[in-house]
Symmetry: C2
């Protein structure tokens, strides 16, 4: 695959600015990574968004999390977390129960089946990330993480 985004997108004209090139590079790179990730999850019949939510639930432990807490922790904005959790529940990967203290909250917890699915995926997910990002090496990865972090902090 080409190393040059301009060529890769068969664009004739140069980019309007370095900022624009960075913006498009980011989008393109994420699209490629996300698509590969999605393909890898497909045999297990879950989407990247669902995987992300499940990982968050695993990280939260047995007390679970409220819908709002999950939303805040998601990588990309999810405007309809209720139905995302509906689907996880329908698949038996999570369960919900209304909070007894404050009945406005609904606590979602990961099930044994959900934990088993994640455990099953852990190795292949790590391998995928290594395959796609490992080429950079530890130092460049840290640089990348730092640059991205600086972008987010300037927004």
């Amino acid at each position: 695959m080409s190393t040059n985004l301009k060529e890769e997108l068969r664009q004739k004209r140069p980019f309007a600015s370095t900022e624009q090139e960075a913006f498009l590079s980011l989008g393109r790179t994420w699209a490629v990574l996300e698509h590969a990730f999605s393909e890898a999850l497909k045999p297990h019949e879950i989407t990247p968004t669902q995987y992300n939510a499940l990982r968050i639930l695993r990280g939260a432990g047995p007390e679970g999390l409220s819908r709002g807490d999950i939303v805040h922790r998601m990588v990309s904005r999810v405007p309809d977390a209720t139905r995302l959790l509906d689907r996880l529940e329908a698949m038996g990967l999570s369960v919900r129960a209304r909070d007894t203290q404050d009945r406005r909250y609904v606590r979602t917890r990961i099930t044994e089946q959900g934990l088993a699915l994640l455990a099953d995926l852990d190795d292949s997910v790590q391998e995928l990330h290594e395959r796609h990002l490992g080429a950079l090496g530890e130092d460049d990865l840290e640089t990348l993480i730092d640059l991205l972090s600086r972008i987010r902090s300037s927004i």
Copy 2:
């Protein structure tokens, strides 16, 4: 906004690996940028995907492009370009005509109205990108572009 993704996503546990942290950082950063971009386009009633297609059509000039060519140039994969172009056409931003030489192809061209919309947006889009990415400075932007390019080339 926090500079640290771990904190930002309220994650308690550390990342499983640097590769994973980079993966999540990329996704998070793109989600934030894309959302801001989408919001900026909203008053003009087009989506980032539609904007991207329009820019590609502008770059192609008066001869236009086939549906397949547009797909290859899009930033993120579009599995249904036909109906994306349907929408642009319905808005009067593009027109289509079957190729007379090879009638399998349909050539899409940008209209005057499409060009006017892009011209109207050019400045504010550049400003947005500068606001979001300008903080890095030219050198760091080049570094970022290079790192992203290396990721794509290793896939």
